[in-house]
């Protein structure tokens, strides 16, 4: 069975030598030490599903790799009474296969299931998705509708940033040199909540979204909406909360929502661009449609 590989000797043709440019700390302490020694020269790699594509396209040169894949602490998911902590190196595959995530954060679970392909989901991570900060990052709208917080480490210490304030532009965020996202903190609610996720792209698989929408509604004891979150992806420089539409839903029962009015506000509030994945006009129309279907879905849950 393994005959063919046995016949081939190690050839050492294209590779060999050179061992100094790849760092793989296994603990937080080790990570801090490397950050201290090499801060300015490091490129951090998580799943590599975006970074390596750009690197091999030679969009930029990477001299020193800092690989977070070996820090087992960053791969942990911890469930507490009042929150769930997801390590930044948790893959999309684990997120969407975990029953607990499906039960507690269905919008995030569905978005993780929609990322790329099995090959991308097995490597790509939640932390990578966050730090890449693409307006089309599939996990970002769900994180915003669940009021996620990000725990960030550096040599100076730790800080916690609201996901709502993390993204500042296309592929831009508040992270400074030498800072690493350690984990995502998702608060757990006692109240009932319902949500929906819609992703629209040119194909079903391996597609960067043309537009996406995450929705989460929290209800009080009388089934009135007491908190609402609507976030659209790929329709502005960052994932965008549509606060005007959120407000329209407050203190209403689901049956009293004027779906078309809410959808129109979402379509009006986004600031989409024309690109290879769709025109601005198309995105506004689809924003209307997917707001409609997301609200429909929540009503029918």
């Amino acid at each position: 069975m393994k005959k063919q590989s046995k016949n081939v000797k190690n050839k050492l043709k294209t590779s060999g030598g050179d061992s100094r440019n790849y760092f793989r700390p296994q603990t937080k302490e080790g990570l801090m030490q490397i950050l201290g020694d090499y801060e300015d020269e490091l490129t951090v790699i998580a799943g590599g599903t975006d970074l390596l594509v750009e690197h091999f396209d030679q969009l930029y040169k990477i001299d020193n790799w800092l690989d977070l894949n070996w820090i087992s602490e960053f791969k942990e998911i911890k469930i507490y009474d009042d929150k769930v902590e997801i390590g930044s190196m948790v893959t999309h595959e684990r997120l969407y296969k975990l029953d607990k995530i499906k039960e507690l954060f269905p919008v995030l679970q569905q978005a993780a299931a929609d990322v790329g392909s099995p090959q991308i989901r097995s490597r790509g991570t939640i932390g990578g998705n966050i730090v890449t900060s693409s307006p089309a990052g599939d996990l970002l709208p769900p994180l915003l509708v669940y009021d996620a917080k990000l725990k960030i480490l550096s040599q100076e210490g730790e800080r916690v940033v609201d996901a709502n304030e993390f993204f500042t532009g296309p592929k831009q965020n508040v992270l400074e040199k030498g800072e690493i996202v350690e984990k995502v903190i998702l608060p757990l609610r006692d109240e009932k909540y319902k949500g929906a996720w819609v992703k629209v792209g040119k194909r079903k698989a391996l597609v960067i979204s043309s537009i996406s929408l995450a929705l989460n509604l929290v209800f009080d004891e009388d089934n009135m909406i007491k908190e609402s979150r609507i976030c659209v992806g790929s329709a502005a420089p960052t994932p965008l909360r549509i606060k005007k539409a959120e407000e329209m839903l407050l203190n209403k029962k689901l049956s009293k929502i004027k779906i078309d009015q809410v959808a129109q506000i979402v379509a009006d509030e986004i600031s989409p661009i024309d690109d290879i994945r769709g025109t601005a006009k198309y995105r506004r129309q689809v924003a209307f449609n997917i707001t409609n279907s997301a609200l429909d879905e929540v009503i029918n849950q």
Binding site: M1, Q4, S5, G16, D18, W65, P118, R123
Partner: protein, 158 residues
């Protein structure tokens, strides 16, 4: 830097650079040219291998990231004298046209069937959603996975 990995059940030690791709390690250093390079961007699935029981695009894995890993490539499934039921089924159903995508298709099918010996058509489509066939022979490829599922259920694991 030196890394050690297990490829198709055999321990291999290879000297690599940090930016060597797992794909090149397999093809160039170990001579396992069954794994193909298509797009080199993780979009086509031609370079799919199984690493630590997960399907990965070997063009998007750095060789040092595979240090200590367990890798299965198409060469590990079976050879001319004894084909794996998945390989046999691809031949029998005529799922192979130009053949370039097939090693990746077969590795994704292997992972799919290892996890779920009895997949529905939808589950097969989802399992193979990261693999592109530009001859567009998808229907027969799905037939092949269904046939492989039948063969493997009746005990013919290669």
């Amino acid at each position: 830097m030196k890394i050690t990995l297990t490829v198709n059940g055999q321990k291999r030690e290879v000297d690599v650079k940090p930016h060597t791709r797992l794909l090149d390690l397999l093809r160039e250093d170990l001579g396992l040219t069954g794994t193909k390079e298509g797009c080199g961007k993780g979009e086509c699935g031609a370079c799919t291998v199984i690493m630590n029981n997960k399907v990965v695009a070997s063009c998007l894995v750095l060789a040092p990231q595979a240090d200590g890993a367990e890798i299965q490539t198409v060469e590990g499934l079976g050879g001319k004298e004894k084909l794996h039921p998945i390989q046999q089924s691809f031949i029998e159903t005529g799922a192979v046209q130009c053949g370039f995508c097939i090693p990746g298709m077969i590795m994704s099918s292997k992972k799919l069937l290892d996890d779920n010996i009895n997949p529905t058509k939808e589950e097969i489509k989802r399992g193979l959603s990261g693999n592109i066939c530009r001859c567009t022979g998808y229907i027969k490829i799905i037939d092949a996975v269904e046939e492989a599922s039948r063969k493997m259920k009746s005990g013919g694991e290669g």
